[in-house]
Amino acid sequence: MVELEIQVFSDRREGLLAELGRVVAANSFSLIRQRLTQDSRGAWLSMIVRGPMEQRLALEEMLGTHSRVLSFEAALFGEAGAIAAAPVSVPTQMAPRTLQPSPVEAMSPPAQPVAPLPAAMPDVSQVEHTLPKLAHDYPQIYPWLVALENSVAEPARESSLMLAGRRTGTWVYKRDYALGAKLGLADAIKRIGMPALRALADIEQHGVHVHILNSPLCAPGVHSGCKFYGGYLEGLLGASVTPKKVFVRHLSCRSSGAAHCSLEISH
């Protein structure tokens, strides 16, 4: 048996402990202690869990790739400065390991105001501020997305767009596509991903590759907004092909001179 100290950062606290608790239990671990706090950037969950050594990697993999987890660290409990000295990180798409907050930050949320934001962490408060407007005006949401881009610091721009996309995609899935059977990835792309994405942009689909033509978020010579589409597809398709997690890779972007923006979907 091992005891692990796990620290998780998520965009919101509602249901976080219940969802991650299920992952912990599913891997034959039991929750010894937990602490859930919230600050302007999101929710911080610290857990001490105990379970079989052979399940440790599986647990870390599932937590690290969970859709609610933006960043994640785990270490053996009781080792002095365990996470600080030897982080066992499973970075998510959104928050690379090198850019995760320090353990001190994770255990004790910083006092307000928080500045500057860690690089590549989404500006959760700005995203939360924008989301109701996206829901209200969907699918005419580009003005709000441009406003979001302009309202966050440059290092947080792409991850904020991605978070907004993921939350919007999950919402659209629940609203319009949740009724019916769970689908395989190819069917989910064809029957859910493409009709939903067509409401936002002109697209072409070739298997797992999606081309976004004339994306208003990716004009030549300016910033790329492709991360929004990636997050949108991950949120939209993630729920329909569970238990697998969907990843979207960005292959090319109009903003860097390509003819169109290309994404690749996988799980």
Binding site: W171, D176, A178, L179, G180, A181, L183, R191
Partner: protein, 247 residues
């Protein structure tokens, strides 16, 4: 001498319309089975979907179609067999919808669910035919009976696939139209398989106490009205749910 059957085409069309209405309501309830989070929600969705399909799309359709059929003799229906036919339709449809709605979708599940529902449609029909009391003897062309079974099973499978795998208006409309074809296709093929021979005016026991067309008409009206109310409530509830979702 075999009797000639004639049909009131308006009632035939009405039977298809009722079947589509029942299928639409049932399948819209059924597609919520995979997203049910509690046992109670799942049971409620299965029971309501099974009821709409078994009693609305199949049972009510069958008896409207029987009212549309004129065999130039007075027919009554055995109450016990008539009730049993409704129960069988409800049970088979509930089982089929639960099969296809639970767990991950697979071709094996679809085959099992389609067979269950197709046999449910057919069992209801042939039990309903057995409930007929009239001065005639009924016999069947077995080739056409088998074809009616195949129609019921295959069309049920197609309808279930459409309902659970597609999304949007195509999912809602097409699946109901196809399920209506499954029920009506089976019924009218089954009717074509039946042959009624005059037995010289001998009435079976219980003929006088059997259910008559006017009794059935009232029951059918109640079922169809319930289906309509259920569909409207479902539509209203889904609209409220959509607008209450937090992004």
């Amino acid at each position: 001498m075999p009797m000639q059957l004639s049909y009131n085409w308006l009632l035939v069309l009405l039977s298809y319309a009722v079947s589509v209405l029942g299928s639409f309501t049932a399948l819209q309830l059924a597609v919520a089975i995979p997203v049910a989070t509690t046992h109670h929600q799942k049971t409620a969705a299965v029971a309501m979907a099974g009821g709409a399909m078994g009693l609305g799309a199949i049972w009510a359709m069958h008896f409207i179609a029987m009212l549309a059929c004129d065999s130039s003799m007075q027919v009554t229906y055995d109450p016990a067999l008539t009730a049993l036919s409704a129960l069988v339709a409800f049970a088979a449809c509930s089982a089929g919808l639960m099969l296809v709605g639970s767990g991950l979708f697979s071709w094996l599940r679809l085959l099992a669910a389609g067979t269950c529902m197709g046999l449910g449609v057919a069992s209801m029909h042939y039990l309903g035919m057995a409930a007929m009391m009239m001065p005639a003897v009924t016999s069947y062309n077995m080739g056409l009976v088998i074809i009616s079974l195949i129609i019921a099973v295959v069309a049920s499978m197609v309808a279930l696939w459409l309902a659970f795998n597609l999304r949007g208006p195509l999912q809602m409309i097409t699946s109901a139209l196809v399920m209506g074809m499954a029920v009506c296709g089976m019924h009218y093929t089954g009717m074509a398989a039946a042959r009624f021979e005059d037995n010289g005016g001998q009435l079976p026991d219980g003929y006088a106490t059997g259910l008559r067309g006017d009794n059935l008409g009232l029951t059918i009206f109640v079922i169809v009205a319930t289906l309509l109310v259920l569909m409207l409530v479902l539509y209203y509830w889904r609209q409220r749910y959509r607008s209450s979702l937090n992004i």
